[in-house]
Structure formats: structure tokens, C-alpha cells
Symmetry: C2
Subunit: 318 residues, 2 copies
């Protein structure tokens, strides 16, 4: 098992990314290819302790910045770390790619380099939100797929179901449609239509609408929404968490603060890009080493459990 890690992407790249990748080698026993400026990456590696046989550096001369326009950047920067890293998956040199860089560029690289699975109109990004021990919610799309058509939401549901079966080992994960009420009559036009389509879909355990609070209650294993809603919801919870931490930090013991931080979902790490022909794991831009290691772990889980194969079967294209 070999995972390509984009060493140059992210707010704390390359230092934290390199450390996280090395930690993944040490902890998971897998091989890693670090993609980035050879000299810079080499400098970050010096002094770190790891099995030299399990790490390769592949040089790339360019980096796509966090705020660059994804499609334009992709066209101009053929030798950027995310494009080269994704190319390693395409070429079979690596089984997965992990990046904390520009998410739009990572999505675009997934689509253009790996290609989309037949029938998938738009790849989605799925967050794996840990709840209480042993429970989690898969929320998708948290990418930038705004104004989704009902059939795209249905594809998200099928892809999310496949991913939940990889993560939780469930054979028929429960899937809910995020809406402004539990009743079938609640929802915007796209949600209402997708709901009707999902009711007729066989091979998926659709339980109907779920509400915002259900994401954290674990009412369904998968929660489906468009990327606008998914982005706003996750960032709102992030902001709320920040407000709580600011207000409470003086009053809390270090132990409770640590417990509280385990709910900082952005730092958990490892949201797969679903619907492309390969495993591409998106980490938050502000990831530190631990999150990168978690991202590599998520990549390994997807590869070992044939996530792409399961997804194709769920979509009926295999």
C-alpha cells in the first residue's frame, strides 16, 4: 500500500504535512510518496525518524495556492504538487492521494486526472463526523456543489451509502435527506424531488427526511445535502465551537478541553472525494500533523475496503 501525500498544500505545509506523513509510515506501516519541492521537503525530513525504505519524494516545481481559482490554476500548473500526486494514483504508482491544499483544485485534479465514475455528474466530498464512541455520521456533500439537481442528490445518497459501508461495515447503511422538517412534505424543490426518487430506489436503505439536529444524533448513518448547505452547516458548527471554547476555556479543566477538542471536526481529518476513479482524501486547510496522519488512515481504509468498487456497484455501473 502506497499513499501519495501533497506535501505543499495547506496552511501548515510543508512542515506539518511532512510530519503527519512520517507518522503515518511509523504508525500504519504503509509506504508514502511525498510530492513537492524536493529540496524543501528534504529539509523538513532531516532529523525525523522513519523507515527510509518506506518513503519516496517525487519532485514537483509548482504549488496551487489556497485562494487560486481551481480550474484556471489547474490549467496553468501542470507540475503542481496536487496534479503530480493525483497523477501517481492514475499511473498506479500510489493507491490514494491525500491533500490539505486548495480543495477546489483537488476536486478538479480528481475529475481531470482520474476521471469521474460513469454516470456521476458531480463528485461529492463526504465528511465523517464522529459522535459518541463507535458512532458517526457521513455528511455529504460538503464540497462546493451548489444548486444540485435532484438526480445529483440521489447520486450523493448512493455514494454516501457506499462510503458508510466502508467506514462502518454496515451492509445497508441508513440514509436520510437533510431537510427543514421530518415530514415528506418538507423541503425545497430539489429535496422534495430527490426524496421522491430515493423512495423508489432499490438497494438503498432510505429512511426519509432528517433534520439538522439529527446529524449529531446519528438518526441515519448518512445525511445527504447539497454542497452549499453542507458547507454552511459544518462551518456554523465550527464557529459555534469556537465561541464555546472562547467563553468556557477559563472555566474548564485541561481534560474537558481535550474532550471538547475531539469535537473539532475539521481536525479529525480525511473526507473522501466520492465519484472519481480513485481514492482522493481531502483534509482541512488548517490541518496539523495529526490530521494528516488521520487523512492517510482514511485513505488506507478506502483502499483496503475497495471503496471505489463499492461505489460503482451502488451506482449500478459495475
Amino acid at each position: 500500500m502506497r499513499v501519495a501525500v501533497d506535501a505543499m498544500g495547506g496552511d501548515y505545509a510543508p512542515r506539518e504535512v511532512v510530519r503527519g506523513a512520517v507518522e503515518a509510515i511509523n504508525k500504519l506501516g504503509i509506504e508514502v510518496i511525498l510530492v513537492g519541492d524536493q529540496e524543501i521537503v528534504g529539509r523538513e525530513l532531516s532529523g525525523l525518524d522513519y523507515d527510509r525504505g518506506k518513503l519516496t519524494v517525487v519532485h514537483s516545481s509548482q504549488v496551487i495556492g489556497m485562494n487560486e481559482h481551481p480550474a484556471l490554476a489547474l490549467r496553468k500548473k501542470k507540475d503542481s504538487s496536487i496534479v503530480v500526486a493525483t497523477g501517481l494514483v492514475k499511473a498506479g504508482e500510489a493507491q490514494a492521494v491525500v491533500s490539505c491544499g486548495n480543495t477546489g483544485a483537488q476536486m478538479a485534479a480528481g475529475v481531470f486526472v482520474l476521471g469521474t465514475v460513469a454516470g456521476v455528474e458531480r463528485p461529492a466530498i463526504a465528511a465523517n463526523i464522529p459522535l459518541r464512541s463507535g458512532q458517526n455520521t457521513i455528511l455529504l456533500d460538503i464540497g462546493a456543489n451548489v444548486d444540485c439537481k435532484p438526480r445529483q442528490l440521489v447520486q450523493f445518497a448512493l455514494m454516501g451509502s457506499a462510503y458508510a459501508s466502508v467506514v462502518n461495515g454496515s451492509s445497508q447503511p441508513s440514509v436520510g435527506m437533510l431537510s427543514n422538517g421530518e415530514e415528506e412534505s418538507k423541503g425545497n424543490q430539489a429535496v422534495l424531488e430527490a426524496h421522491a426518487m430515493l423512495k423508489k430506489e432499490t438497494g438503498i436503505n432510505f429512511i426519509g427526511n432528517v433534520e439538522g439536529r439529527d446529524i449529531f444524533v446519528g438518526k441515519s448513518e448518512v445525511v445527504v445535502c447539497d454542497g452549499f448547505v453542507g458547507n454552511v452547516v459544518l462551518k456554523a458548527v465550527e464557529g459555534f465551537m469556537g465561541l464555546l471554547m472562547d467563553t468556557l476555556k477559563e472555566a474548564l479543566s485541561p481534560e474537558v478541553l481535550r474532550l471538547l477538542k475531539s469535537f473539532d471536526y475539521n481536525q479529525v481529518g480525511g473526507a473522501p472525494l466520492l465519484g472519481v476513479n480513485g481514492v482522493s482524501i481531502v483534509c482541512h486547510g488548517s490541518s496539523k500533523a495529526q490530521t494528516v496522519t488521520n487523512g492517510v488512515k482514511a485513505a488506507v481504509q478506502c483502499v483496503e475496503n475497495d471503496m471505489v468498487g463499492k461505489l460503482k456497484r451502488a451506482l449500478g455501473v459495475d
Copy 2:
């Protein structure tokens, strides 16, 4: 100042509603009209301590249940507590109405009994979210206005600005459009178009897009979204809060738990229905007495600061 309170609406009605209303009389020195079954309300009042001259009970023989279809229920139940209470505002017997009952029915009663302000296509419900001391965010719409047209989002922005000036005393409250990124290019179609329209709008301090986290950071005094997104976001934070409380309660001191509960926004109470010809305050269905008192307080603030007049001027219809 006289406020009509729907004594029969809400999960804990009439007991908690009656207690909250009595507390409002005692604390705020205002008059209250309790609307509901005279016998039941009378029974709840017995034994409570308050100035008899400041409380009237107006009988209504019907109640609209929490899960009834609003428009249908309104047509059938002309003598329901929410319709009668809203009618008291229309007749000038009360200056505001407060309810913890079926929100859709309260909205429908607002529209059909009070009428909408000229030019308002859809009334919106605005949550007043307290942040750190002395700071708050007005989030709207949190009602059920799904699939909003851009011009409706613009109206929400203008109405929210008027409400913020009432609550915060600001002359030009900052207004942000909730989106999946700060950049002007981010958003779904309705948000992109509303953004463009708001940029041209004079008489509003529009600061551009804000993100989910900014709701709790207080980047803008007002945050505008459609009712689908507003509902999902507030309920997601409610669910996240519940998860935190469940996980942390054993580890927290009673003092910190109390502090944490002050962020339970649903219990803060008092979201006005904006865009109808009168003051109608929506409280969460699970409100206890304290929330009802807060709802009456919000009503008094709206009346004393001429919220409806400010709103009309903001919309340019006065």
C-alpha cells in the same frame, strides 16, 4: 403596553406559558392578555402572585396542534388561541402577540389577520442569537421560506437591518449574505443574484458574503439566508449542543453547565415575524416559563422601538 399571549400553544402549554406571562407582568410591569380556554387558564393562574389589574383572560375554544397543517388548521379553527390572540393586535386591544405554538399557523395568522407590509412577498422569522456579552447576531429567515427568490432575500436583508437597529440601537447595522465562501463569486444562484442586488441597494450597510462560522463570530450584525438553510443551521447547532452536553455533563461543574446552557439558543426566546403589520413573536415549541418571559420582553422592545415603522421605512413603503 398590552401583550397578547397564546396560552395554549407549545409543548408545555398552558402551565409554563401562563407562568412566563405572569412573570412578565411582575418583571416588566406591562399588561398581558392570556388567550385560551378560560377554565384551564384560570386553573393555572390560581395560586400565582401578580397584579390582577394587569391580566385579562380572553376565551378561545380551539387550539391548533403542533403538527397540524397551518393553512388548513387556520381555515377550520377561527376560534383558535393563535387566531384570537393575533386578532387582538389587529383590533388594537394588544400591541403584540407572543406564541410557542405551531409556527406555521402563527405565520399564517400573521399574514391573514394582520396582513403583510406593502411590497413584502414573504414574511421572515429572525432569530436573535446572543454571542459574547453585548454582542449578538440576527439570523433570518429561520421560518419555512424555502426556494427564495433573490428579491425575497433582499427583502429579508432590509427587514433584518431594521430589526437589528431596534435590538442593537445601531443606525446602520452591518448585513452579510450567508454563503459557502466569502468571495463574491461563491454562492448558489439565488445568493449570487441577491448579492448583486444588495450591492446596489442604498440605505443598507451590506458587507458582502459571510460564512457559517461568522454567525457565531459576529462578523455582521445581520446574516441573511433562506428558511431552509436557516432552519438546518440552527437545528444543527442545537443537535451539536445536545451531543456536547451529553458527552461532557459528567465532567462539568454546575456553573459551567449553566454557562453552556446560555448558548441554548432555542431557549433564549423571542424571534419576531418580520413583514406583517404588527408585532408577532415566535417562541420555540419547547419553551419553558423563562423563554416565554423573554418572548414578551422581545415584544415590548419591538413595540417601544417602533419595529414595524422602521421596517416599512427600510423597505421604502412608508
